[in-house]
Symmetry: C2
């Protein structure tokens, strides 16, 4: 075998949160694989760290892009191999107080670590940071090896997500209705060697409790590490202008807990649409006996109070005997203020988490802020994101509903699973609890539904509740989503029984809509990158369209739903027209749902669509942003529906007939914390050059965080010269509050494309 | 002050579970009280220990019985005093290995302990056993003093249960709709001095896990105590015949954990109606260095597996979008067998728990077994019962749903309350977990309803979930009752809107009926003991009737409901007639509910009426057993409705008119684990000497644990010579399965007592 020899930078370990890797000397890694654990790999190729074994092999063996057609299937053999990462290095010169560590923020999934062929560490679980002191095992030249086990698969289950039902590994990669079967393995986060002082701090946690009037934050510093007892420390808190506002110092203990440090009049952290996501800077410094600085731990701190409280009206429902319980709370209160949570379900932005960059996170999070979203539900089917994700949410003011990696499976009450879950969850909680954006823990996705089969008695969920209580008692915890009173779905514009989103949302009565989706096609440029040219039009099952979720993904012909498109619009003559049809339904569907959820405020307090982004380019998906970060038209529609203040129309259906009475209710929606004074709002119907004024309303004062229902417009539909028309709502002097909606018009005696007379009934 | 001097029996501490007190030398206690903590009491009276300060004062000052009329009001001043219990004793002779302990199983509620005027212990909480080593503080003559604080009252709330909303003290005594305002204080469980070896075992817990085929029990012995490390121990398990089936020995550690002890083919513990509540005997013996026995801990062990699983059909409900979650599980499975849980809500059998005896427990538990009940829900408004309660339930085969002492209040997320709750709950869980009868933990009563105001986010409930998981992961936990899909109420035969229990139960669809009640009057002999003779008839508000819950207890004129009685039966001419009317409604109402709940099996899996017993003699109450242990007629009605196998009629209303078509559905109900073969069942209508045969059914085979619906009888009601008639269901050759129901008949042109013509409409 041929190892690269490296020089090690022996620097003082001076790490700051989020820049941990900067101090890792670069190592050159090689990767090999074998069919059994005992076999040594025959060949080694160069490996990117962080990355994934699949990406290294694909690069080395010149695989075509896994995003194109069904190329991902070529990767399936890689699930069942043992992998060996190997690197070599010269022993650095270390003084008596220095130790050499191998450290990693994530190795996926089960592995053993060897130094010079001696096993020194083993772990199951990809979310627990690894810190192995190599010092006592070092020779002049050293070989570090990581043996990785094959992708875990629960036996004897089918090739499906259920194979991941006894591991703390994201089930999404075992195949989902918008994710191919492709199970990442490998070193997936910052990893390397690090020289540390014998005494070092592993964790600094700035805990706090805000006074009930928010005029004071009472801080507790918790710090722990290795051989720190007796060392001196200092701590300071500086504000966003760099001004020191608090300072203390003292002597470390094994576990330091300094309580009762008061910050008067703290500037609060707010979601971006409610105020400033204000962050302070905490700097904790450890000194050696001579007063020389050993280590600095720098991290941002935001002060907020989050509660899940009862939705308005929820206590008084269900008043007849026998009485059950009231629904659980789903109203976010931030710093004492009820907010309407508007946002989306975040999924992995890459199939291989090893290649997610801070830049990608930033691009996607900036887009969410721009779309007036204030929350992400980080869905339990995917990974726990890297630190930079949370740092960005802290900075940008996006609330995080964080799920543990459990989804749509019956995770067992089994001792081994529970022990891995405890290890991983503890690591996750302790890592994330310092983030101002953390607003809600959740055990996982759809676990109390029959396709999963877990119940309130399931020990994994009781364990997660218990661990969250232990480490973060002030962050709410839900065992799963949906809970009673919360809605998941639907995921199509029109369900098989003919009910459209408009009607579904009118009959719906939920405290929170935590998932709802409308599929929309990706832009043509994206489609051309993933579908072979010959298959592009018309889309057909059993082609690359199906691999990319246009057919056979979920129920019926999802996600393309060609029969719905054709029924509304007639057969599309080319791909461009088809994409337009699909994207129009996605836009109008999402507008209907987001705006109706907001109209149901204050009983309803949340609207999160399924889903925000995607891990690879889907041909059709409920996502708003196509991989890697391409906005669909629906993104802009949702951005409009999520404006803090807007004029909105409540529609009852999509397709209208000539001669029928068209009607729509006019609303002003205000999620902002300012009242508004609106003089005049008008509604008109526009079809090409035909315009019909429908009504004029003088609403006057609109209270803060309160909607106002206006009048209903009515018009017996005349003959229109187009098959679509727009309902336009205009706010005089405030075009930024305007809205418009596109609807389908059916003229009398019309015939559709296949010559069958259209039924003009409602 | 005048203290009694006592001789102390210096015996070896040889305690066995449940007979802890036998080794406590008797102490003579005196009691005094004062208005402030600093004042010394002026007078001391003799005190009964265990008991209550109120009972000592009442005895000494010759108070009349608190059960009569409104005498309990005379006790109210006692809520706000400081109490001092005091006793004196000579120092016993102790060898170098012996220590003298003051030990108590319960002092209610907040107290400090002084030896020779030095404070040596303080505690808030009545359920944590107290063990104070006095040895180093002993003089030749010693004075032991317990200073008790006044009844805790949350400030500034009204004189109501809400005053108990931040303490771990049963709120029931702060007043309930069947409990007077009378808040016990004092030493309430076995208490005394005890000579112990320096090395002693405090807790032995025989933990186990049954194999999935129940062919093996894998046992872990957990033992902990004081200065036990290095001492030898032996342990044996004997069966009910005294035959040793397991044995091991070894050396103690501070916390001993001996795992993997296998018992092959264990005899299982079953609720009495499903099999034998088989108990083994565990004997743990501690030896000193010379091999001499120091201590024996003897306790019974039953092997069972309990789970709460999904009710049949519950997974497939609520199938339309948006989807919420499925209801939580409410089906008990014992040793792999689904059982229908039939029973009642247990409340404190005394206002003052200090005077509850094992004999009282036995009498009440025997009655429950006799009434075919297999479960008690020990309601969260009351105390955690004494050990003998659980020992008897273990022996008799009654399952225990055990609630923590939280009920109908919004217990706060406050650090002090949480710390007391943690201490008390930990003590409770560790004490009760050894009992075979323990089947379900529950956070408390009706906490997720608007009159309480707690939610899934409330930290006290998250804490209880977490502690139960830590100490008893194999016992299910519910945060409260009712949960979604479970029903509480109604509590009257007919609600104000005219709906009777018959109709209410027919529209009801619940996984479990965990509370439902029908009020019934106490027997005349009881009434005469509590109501002044002049007030006996007719019952009126603002008299002793109201003090004893006949009026103004809950909504409307509960619990007497005179307008309902009069409407059905006409005005009663004397007390005897009134009692009969009330008791008839209670009987028929309870039969309707228990039997309908059973008909709703398998979706429904539980029926528990509110309530079983009562802490003092109520004039009218939903109870089946009047204080102290007097069976109402409803007790026998419920006993019949709970027979494992019976013929049952499903009725639709209580009052029938001449000429109307009477109908009733015939059922056979089988909760037993045997199939039945039934040849012939008949139904007939009987009114005095008039008899009408209604139908004959040949049902044939009835599967185990399965009901069978039969035909519906119909009869156009002829003129009957009586105002009541009976529907009689007879099983040929099996009179033990017969049932009958009493109903009201209204002849045509009848007039009621006040001369208003009766409306004969349905």
């Amino acid at each position: 075998m041929n190892y690269l020899n490296l020089f090690i930078l022996t620097i003082f370990c001076l790490f700051t949160s989020g820049t941990y890797a900067e101090n890792h000397p670069d190592l050159a890694w090689k990767l090999g694989y074998s069919k059994t654990q005992l076999e040594e790999p025959v060949n080694f190729i160069s490996a990117n760290v962080p990355g994934a074994v699949q990406l290294d092999i694909a690069r080395e063996e010149k695989y075509p892009s896994y995003s194109f057609a069904d190329n991902y299937k070529k990767f399936s053999w890689m699930e069942d191999r043992f992998y060996t990462y190997v690197t070599s290095f010269r022993k650095p010169s270390l003084n008596t107080n220095e130790r050499l560590y191998f450290s990693s923020k994530g190795i996926d999934y089960q592995f053993e670590i060897y130094i010079n062929n001696e096993k020194i560490f083993a772990q199951e679980g990809m979310f627990t940071y690894i810190n192995v002191d190599l010092t006592d095992k070092l020779k002049d030249d050293n070989v570090l090896k990581i043996l990785l086990f094959p992708a875990p698969k629960r036996f004897p289950f089918p090739v499906d997500r259920i194979q991941a039902s006894n591991v703390v590994k994201p089930p999404v990669s075992y195949q989902w209705d918008w994710h191919p079967r492709l199970i990442p393995l490998g070193i997936w986060d910052e990893t390397g060697l690090e020289v540390r002082n014998r005494s070092y701090v592993e964790e600094v946690y700035i805990n706090y409790q805000l006074a009930s009037d928010y005029k004071k934050s009472v801080i507790t510093i918790l710090a722990s590490g290795k051989e720190t007892a007796g060392k001196k420390y200092s701590w300071e808190l500086t504000d966003a202008d760099g001004k020191r506002v608090l300072h203390t110092q003292g002597e470390m203990q094994d576990v330091l807990s300094v309580t009762g440090i008061s910050l008067e009049d703290p500037k609060l952290w707010w979601p971006h649409d409610q105020g400033t996501p204000y962050l302070y800077l905490s700097t904790f410094t450890l000194f050696d006996g001579s007063g020389k600085e050993i280590q600095k731990v720098v991290q941002k701190v935001g002060f907020k109070r989050v509660r899940l409280i009862m939705n308005e009206g929820a206590w008084t429902e269900n008043s007849s005997f026998p009485k059950s319980r009231s629904v659980p709370p789903a109203q976010f209160e931030i710093n004492g203020r009820k907010i309407f949570a508007k946002g989306s379900n975040w999924v992995n932005p890459e199939i291989f988490p090893g290649i997610i960059t801070k830049e990608r996170y930033k691009e996607l999070i900036d887009l969410a802020v721009n779309a007036n979203m204030n929350i992400f539900r980080v869905w339990g089917g995917g990974i726990i994101n890297k630190e930079s994700f949370f740092e960005l949410c802290d900075e940008k003011g996006i609330l995080i509903w964080e799920e543990f990696p459990l989804a749509c499976n019956d995770y067992p009450d089994d001792a081994h699973y529970l022990s891995v879950l405890k290890q991983e969850a503890t690591s996750i909680i302790r890592r994330l609890r310092k983030h101002a954006s953390l607003a809600l823990w959740c055990g996982g996705n759809e676990l109390f539904n029959n396709w999963s089969g877990m119940t309130d008695q399931s020990l994994p969920l009781r364990l997660l509740n218990s661990l969250c209580l232990e480490y973060t008692p002030l962050i709410p915890f839900n065992p799963t989503s949906p809970l009673m009173g919360m809605g998941h779905g639907n995921y199509v514009f029109r369900s098989p029984d003919g009910e459209e989103v408009f009607q579904e949302m009118k009959r719906a009565h939920y405290t929170a809509y935590t998932e709802f989706g409308i599929p929309g096609m990706s832009p043509i440029e994206v489609l051309k990158q993933i579908i072979p040219e010959n298959d592009l039009f018309p889309p057909k099952p059993k082609t690359a369209w199906e691999d990319h979720h246009a057919f056979g993904a979920w129920m019926g012909n999802t996600w393309l739903c060609p029969e719905i498109l054709e029924d509304y619009f007639g057969k599309a003559s080319d791909l461009e027209e088809l994409v337009k049809q699909s994207q129009l339904l996605q836009c109008e569907g999402y507008k209907a749902i987001f705006e109706e959820a907001r109209r149901q405020k204050p009983y309803c307090a949340m609207a999160l669509n399924w889903c925000y982004n995607e891990p690879w380019p889907a041909a059709v998906n409920n996502s708003l942003v196509v991989y890697p970060a391409v906005c669909k038209p629906a993104y802009y529609a949702v951005k409009n529906s999520c404006r803090p203040f807007l004029a909105s129309a409540c529609l009852s259906k999509f397709r209208w007939n000539e001669g029928e009475e068209f009607f729509a209710d006019l609303w002003l929606l205000n999620d902002g914390y300012e009242p508004k004074d609106i003089r005049t709002v008008t509604m008109k119907l526009v079809a090409g050059d035909q315009t019909f004024d429908l009504l004029t309303w003088h609403p006057g004062n609109i209270k803060d965080n309160t909607n106002k229902a206006g009048p209903t417009c009515r018009l017996k539909l005349p003959h229109l010269n187009q098959t679509q028309f727009r309902l336009v709502v205009e706010v005089e002097g405030h075009p930024e509050y305007n809205s418009d909606y596109t609807l389908i018009f059916i003229p009398k005696y019309s015939v559709n494309n296949d010559k069958t007379p259209v039924m003009n009934a409602n």
